[in-house]
Amino acid sequence: MEIFPVERIREDFPILKQHVYGKPLVYFDNGATTQKPVRVIETINRIHREQNASIHRSVNWMSDHMTQLYEDARKTIRAFIGAGKISEIIFTAGATASINAVAFSFGETFLEPGDEVLISTMEHHSNIVPWQLACERRGARLKVIPITDAGTIEMDAYRNLLGDKTRIVAVTHVSNTLGTINPVKEMIRLAHERDIPVLVDGAQAIQHTAVNMVDLDCDFYVFSGHKVYGPTGIGILYGKEQWLERLPPYQGGGDMIDRVTFEKTTFNELPFKFEAGTSNYIGAIGMAEAVAYISEIGMQAIHEYETGLRDYAAGLLSAFPGLSQYGTAPDKTAIFSFVLNNVHPFDTGMILDKFGIAVRTGTHCTMPLMNRFRIEGTVRASLCFYNTHQEIDRLMEGLQTVTDMLA
């Protein structure tokens, strides 16, 4: 195996040179948002300076050109996630917007009173609340797949929960709090045996591992640009064409229509049916650039390097006295949630902050998961391929200081 050129890669991310309180920044909050490589920054910059024009339905050269870049971005995303068709790639405002679109449109069409929507205990609020709202509107019920103490799906329980009333399964590919990589392919297979479609929340997976829609065979897959080294305000909804065609549009507005009269509106074809209003075309192009960047590094190389980081950090954290980890599945990403004995996560976070180490503390938008473990919150360090072993050492030093000061 070649050595992963992490130092060279860090050069691509200007922000990694920042100092916080005079200390070099250790950015371990990648689960919240990722930093942007210079290619992405410069692409956005260049569009703003030289190319910006509104897309679609235009005769002028600049607009033609922007439209081309936007539709090329769609192709880049399609290739990146191995989707079958261009029309299956919908640009949204982010993962949350994507899930809301599906929960609403699917709910309106396929949820009846007494029906069930199946999610897991480890879902992010963005994959809970939209389904709660849809269930409430349609008189359907939310069912929850339990998890083990290690933070993995209880597969037997899952099999039993898949029932005649289950209309859709919505499950995260990777847990944003625990790092657990769920066996989504197997879960999809089991659901499909009963003709139940599956939405996979890929917000924490897409940046760490190669995904392939055709192979995974999921019905919907969602993620956010800002978590995959791209800009904010943009995300993806992948949906199988046969599903997207059957769903009513979510939002109304420009671009998503074919003809409008006051009596009746007919809708545009896919993917435009789900892209109401002026889309964030600059964001879309920026995201495609991010995806092109990590594709060049190679998802396999990223995965291997991050696995190395994970094992290194896991070893040190496990050996740290008085530290409890949440999420100890063998198959997980480099996300670590932990609590130091008798130390409030917030205190830990505040002291780490003084070391220039950016972590997140709290419930990580997974309150039901916190309830499952009967805790109020954790400290979360979430790593990615521009992080280093030395940075993990600095985290450990920081934790030692926290212990010295507080435990």
Partner: protein, 141 residues
């Protein structure tokens, strides 16, 4: 003449023209010369959707060849449609499906065939191929 040869002929015609204004004037003339489509075909069923300038297209089988007629409400589009018709009309489905359409690029009008121009020509060419496929299937039976 083969589809290839017609395209070559068009390329030579355009080679004699100067910059965009002459080319557009030529297209405008072609558009004016193209007879209006039979009113029976200037209907929604023959309309190519999803574009600002409307394009109507009809295809009839005469013997083993397809004869296309087309129209547009925009004159430059109509001129381009006339060129496309001239290339494809009176050929067999197999010839049409095998053809490599590259003259538009070569006569410097590429942007009109970019999928982002909402002039309907990309959809028109797609529709021509659909007709060819359909007639080919029909002729097999």
């Amino acid at each position: 003449m083969t589809i290839e040869a017609i395209q070559q002929e068009i390329i030579e015609e355009f080679a004699g023209l100067g910059e965009w204004m002459e080319r557009y004037n030529y297209l405008i003339d072609l558009g004016k010369d193209l007879p209006a489509i039979d009113p029976a075909f200037r209907k929604d069923e023959y309309l190519i959707r999803g574009c600002q300038s409307r394009v109507w297209l009809n295809a009839d089988l005469e013997g083993d060849r397809i004869v296309f007629t087309a129209d547009s409400d925009a004159i430059i589009t109509k001129g381009l449609a006339a060129l496309i018709i001239r290339v494809f009309t009176n050929h067999t489905p197999a010839e049409i499906l095998a053809a490599n359409l590259d003259f538009i690029d070569k006569i410097g009008l590429k942007e009109h065939l970019s999928p982002t121009r909402s002039n309907g020509l990309v959809a028109m060419i797609r529709q021509i191929r659909y007709y060819a496929m359909a007639y080919k299937a029909k002729m097999k039976n």
